[in-house]
Amino acid sequence: MTSHRTYEVLRGSSGVVTGESDLWCTYAAVRTLSWLGRTADLPRPGEVAAFLASRQNADGGYAWSAGMNSDAWATYYCTQALADLPAEARGTARASSGDWVRSTAHPDGGYAMTPGQTPDVWATYYAVRVLVEIHGERPPAELTDWLGALQAADGGLAWSPAHAKDGTSDARACYYAVTAWHTATGGRGPLPWDRDRLVRWLRDRQGAGGGFTFQDGDATECLWATFRAVSALARLGESPRDPAGCVAWITARLRPGGSFTRWPGYPVPDVWAAFCGVGALRELGADPTGLADRVVAAVLSFRTEQGGFTYRAPELASDVLTTSAHLLSGRLADDAARTALRWTEGCVLPNEHGVMYMPGRGSEVRCTLWALAAGAFADDAAARTGIARWLTGAIQNPDGGFGYWEGRASDTVSTCAAAEILAATGSTDAAARRGIAGYLSSCERAPGQYANVPGGKPTLRATLQALRALRLTAGADRAAVEEALARHRVRGGGYGNDNHRVPDLLSTYEATLTADAFGIAWEAGHLSRFLDSVRTADGRFAWTPLMATSGGPLADCLGHRLELRLSSERCALPPLALS
């Protein structure tokens, strides 16, 4: 377990700051203000609405950032936050997200994060709340059966019916499942679980300090787990064994004169802690009004110039992907690089050994890969072993694949990232490797052509990610790589993800990386012409030849690493995967 002392490095900001708004942070901020009856304190609510609305795609769903595919997670956060804003600030009517959400439904009653993916309780919760609370619909009756199958042998609820068979229960899964049931039925339908065992499991998560943990065996009580556990109990009409102790533990998370922090020893008040602290007090029947001024002041200080929010004061809001990108680009001087790496290594939760995108968030597979590639934990064998165990022991799904974070259904990009991490950390777990190969076989849509999720359409990046992961685990056919590269090679330069006409930086990076991994020769002039087409006037890189401005630090990093690959030193490309 990471010691409390480690978190002191997060008090300042030795990582790299983008100053950009984040969707989850924006949702948490708006909802916290709404719970406190203080959305009127937002100076320019129309800007928040514009930030949220900019995430909507033509299919009606919303994406984590502009240009990405819609997912249930982003669709829930955007629609709910928009609904919480003052009516006059929400802007013009937008396309309904209802059809898109229904496209994620499975016949068994669960919902997936994206169409074609396996259902999980995160996605099911988001979909049900959007359908019921935003669109006034009633989910199909099969939902109750799917939710009922989440109860594990220990009485708690798991991420999916398949997870439940292995007995992995989590306070978040309990909250999402119970709230989905409560939302769909108004709390009046028959409870699809053994009530006594479920309530006992939830109450058993309360620790000696008064706060809760996510899972059996977790050592550190956490405000996020506390909020989810007391919320699940409240929807069941129950309370913790020691409600007064729980309230005292929550209020002890307040900084003197300031807002909430996440767990004992964590020094930084952030937007999620505010969200969880206020939310948990409401669920426990403790009026948070007396804390409103200090919490609102903190939350409003997290606003960015983009109109949304980040997790703390924007000038200090570093994130792991941006920091890793700067490190991989060599854009930091030696001293700054060392402190940035130490900051990155501090982005590990007490009970999870992977690296978080932002401190205080859950550990994420892709961020962990970027951090390791940037040099994090290079000299810390114990931490690297812990990461490998976190992957194979906690994150790997029953289907053998990996999702973005714990409990998320599997996808090819995360599974590839996990395979790369296991290789980098020297893991020799044969069962984990067999699982990876098994999951990827479910994504093979045509011979040698892979999709990001089992029911998705094949793309170049998913194909290359699958073949790289297979090379590291069960073996892969070099000819399949050659065929994929030939299918997606753009004549003028670069590679396209969906066809062979529109090249993009991410696909071209993955194509070059995979060709190198399989010992396949490529033409330097072809790559060089592509880089010329995405290089901006200031020497940075756009994601596609269509854009005149940099795609941001991640695009700059990938473009620069391709330039280094073309240089006389032929610097190897880090094995990165992003989408």
Partner: protein, 91 residues
């Protein structure tokens, strides 16, 4: 040789942009930068724009060789690009 008047090309380009951007496209000056003038004209919208222009005029854009970010950055530039490509194809 097939020719298209710039005003015809411009009108069809505006119609293409109108489908996504509505009123904002109708009032667009010919020299306005699309990314600045049209809210939401991001990389995805730009790609859809190029694809729609290809379909509307029966041309094929070379995304690497044609400096697409310049040619498709304003209505006037796109008009000139389309006129030349249509003439090239007809020649």
């Amino acid at each position: 040789m097939q020719t298209l008047e710039p005003t015809d090309i411009n009108a069809r380009l505006v119609a293409v942009l109108e489908q996504r951007f509505g009123e904002a496209a109708r009032a667009l000056p010919g020299d306005a930068d699309l990314a600045d003038a049209l809210p939401g004209f991001d990389s995805l919208a730009a790609l859809e724009y190029v694809n729609a222009v290809e379909a509307a005029f029966g041309i094929e854009v070379d995304f690497v060789g044609d400096d697409v970010r310049y040619q498709f950055s304003t209505l006037d530039r796109t008009t000139e690009y389309v006129r030349e490509r249509v003439e090239d194809q007809a020649a």
